[in-house]
């Protein structure tokens, strides 16, 4: 009768190895990029403009482009996403309509960024005449990150215990008062996490940016200017072999930004959770 226990031990080891490999890959990627890139990164790299198509100089315009583009995307996507999730979780019972909306959200989440790129290109760049611009790019990216925000906010709102709603209603609150004063504050950590994940997704996006915001290497001065984000810059440097050194440098900044954003989301979630529970 040793057999079942023996098998358990064997399987546990196999599964552990699989887990270890997965975690190792992650750390390897991060370590490898940082090891090669940190040498290039200094204040000058961050704050100066690229020279000679990026062969020399820094990545300042790309940092500005990345920030502005994600800001625009978030400002558009947040009200739409949070509004949708409030509607889905507070105002309707499960019905045909909600299942259609949910299905639409799932589909939107699955659509490849290249399709968003094509769409943004036809609609905003060509049809509405916005050209390759921050506005076209921001709108398109907003559509892409919308499902992320909807899903995380909806989950957060649903996880607010029903008895909070009942207490507020039984104290004579209207539905909207209850949502604003009790539900949203309690769901805030989850909602903010969703928004931050949206920021992370817009920072990493490449295909959409090339198709809708272009890749002009200048500091943008208006929403109608084209811009180049760090991801796009990195892609061009690496794929066209312009400068491996600066590619590593850009990737380092990208990875550090993503790490910081995730860590921040994590920290914020825990802080707010501690405050509201």
């Amino acid at each position: 009768m040793l057999k079942p226990i023996f098998w358990e031990q064997v399987m546990k080891k196999i599964l552990f190895v699989g887990t270890a490999i997965t975690v190792f890959i992650l750390f390897f990627i991060i370590f490898y990029i940082l090891k090669n890139g940190l040498a290039v990164v200094d204040m000058e790299f961050l704050l100066s403009s690229p020279k000679d198509f990026g062969r020399a100089g820094g990545i300042f315009p790309c940092i500005v482009g990345t920030i502005v583009l994600s800001l625009v995307a978030i400002i558009i996507a947040t009200p739409l996403g949070v509004g949708t999730s409030i509607y889905l979780s507070e105002y309707t019972r499960e019905s045909k309509l909600t299942s259609i909306i949910r299905f639409g959200t799932d589909c939107l989440a699955g659509i490849p960024s290249i399709i968003f790129g094509l769409f943004g290109f036809v609609l905003f760049v060509v049809y509405l005449g916005l050209g390759w611009s921050i506005l076209s790019g921001g709108l398109t990216i907003a559509f892409m990150i919308l499902p992320t925000i909807i899903r995380t906010s909806e989950e957060a709102i649903k996880s607010v215990p029903d008895y909070y709603r009942e207490v507020s209603l039984s104290l004579g609150g209207t539905k909207w008062q209850t949502i604003v004063k009790v539900v949203l504050p309690s769901a805030l950590p989850g909602i903010v996490t969703g928004i931050i994940l949206g920021v992370a997704r817009s920072i990493e996006e490449t295909a959409i940016v090339i198709f809708t915001a272009g890749s002009v290497l200048r500091i943008p001065t208006s929403l109608f200017d084209s811009c180049r984000t760090m991801s796009v810059h990195f892609y061009i440097l690496a794929r066209e072999g312009i400068s491996m050194e600066n590619a590593y440098g850009t990737a380092t900044i990208l990875i550090i930004t993503i790490l910081l954003i995730n860590a921040f989301a994590y920290w914020l979630m825990h802080r707010l959770m501690a405050k509201y529970s």
Binding site: M1, K3, P4, I5
Partner: protein, 251 residues
């Protein structure tokens, strides 16, 4: 008299929380013992230390000894799988697996290495008959257990323990999800099973304890306040706290 189960200076901690305080208790073979007390008093914890299912909870620490058939079940060499086979458990809510009736009952025998169809069939019939389910379910072996009514599911859970070949049955508020008539039927079943098994039942319903058990233990905030023959507990409790509880000053 040799005791089937003995708890010796048993203490349980969840992290810093002292859940059971220095419990001493002896339980004889083929009796029904009821544990009563307000919620959070540690009765479920006590039940769950007897087949060591409590270890699933992180940060559980245990002091003292539990002897089953004079053997310390917390001894490092104890075969925990055999222990759980010997002391089967029925939970508060029926927890049939999302498998067929047949697969639910044969689950225990199969994990313990019984593979022959004929042997399994025999076990199924025997344990279903013992729980008065055979006539109703013999045509429904392939049906999902989750499609049965709650009562049948709970009886199936008891049948599952019987199929395992247990000697001890631990029941954790087995009737709390059931209606009065069903409750009475399960109680009758327990009294019947007492002939062959040692049964410990946790219940929040004092009348239930009074109806089915030979012995009752009253617990409060991790302590075993009083244990005695059931009739004595309910007619002449020794401890003021037991009396408070029985007369309904709690909850």
């Amino acid at each position: 008299m040799e005791y089937k189960i003995e708890l010796v200076n048993l203490s349980v901690y969840y992290g810093d929380f002292h859940a059971l305080r220095n419990i001493n208790m002896q339980i004889g073979a083929k009796t029904i013992t009821a544990l009563i007390g307000p919620s959070g008093c540690g009765k479920s914890t006590m039940l769950r230390t007897i087949n060591r299912i409590n270890e699933l909870i992180d940060g559980t620490r245990i002091e003292g000894k539990i002897l089953i058939d004079q053997k310390d079940i917390y001894h490092p060499k104890t075969d925990i799988l055999q222990l759980r086979k010997k002391a089967g458990m029925v939970f508060q809510r029926p927890n049939c697996f999302p498998l067929s009736v047949y697969d639910n009952i044969t689950y225990g025998p199969r994990v313990h290495g019984i593979k022959k169809k004929a042997e399994l069939d025999e076990i199924v019939e025997k344990s279903l008959r013992a729980t008065w389910l055979w006539d109703e379910l013999k045509e429904k072996m392939k049906k999902s257990a989750l499609s049965l009514s709650l009562e049948y599911q709970q009886r199936l859970c008891i049948a599952r323990v019987l199929a395992l070949g247990s000697e001890i049955i631990l029941l954790d508020e087995p009737c709390s999800a059931l209606d009065p008539i069903t409750t009475l039927r399960i109680e009758e079943l327990l009294v019947e099973l007492k002939k062959d098994y040692t049964i410990i039942i946790v219940t929040h319903n004092m009348q239930q304890a009074a109806r089915v058990s030979n012995y009752s233990g009253y617990m409060l905030m991790g302590e075993l306040v009083e244990v005695n023959e059931t009739s004595k507990i309910f007619t002449s409790p020794q401890d003021k706290r037991t009396e408070d509880y029985i007369t309904g000053r709690f909850g």
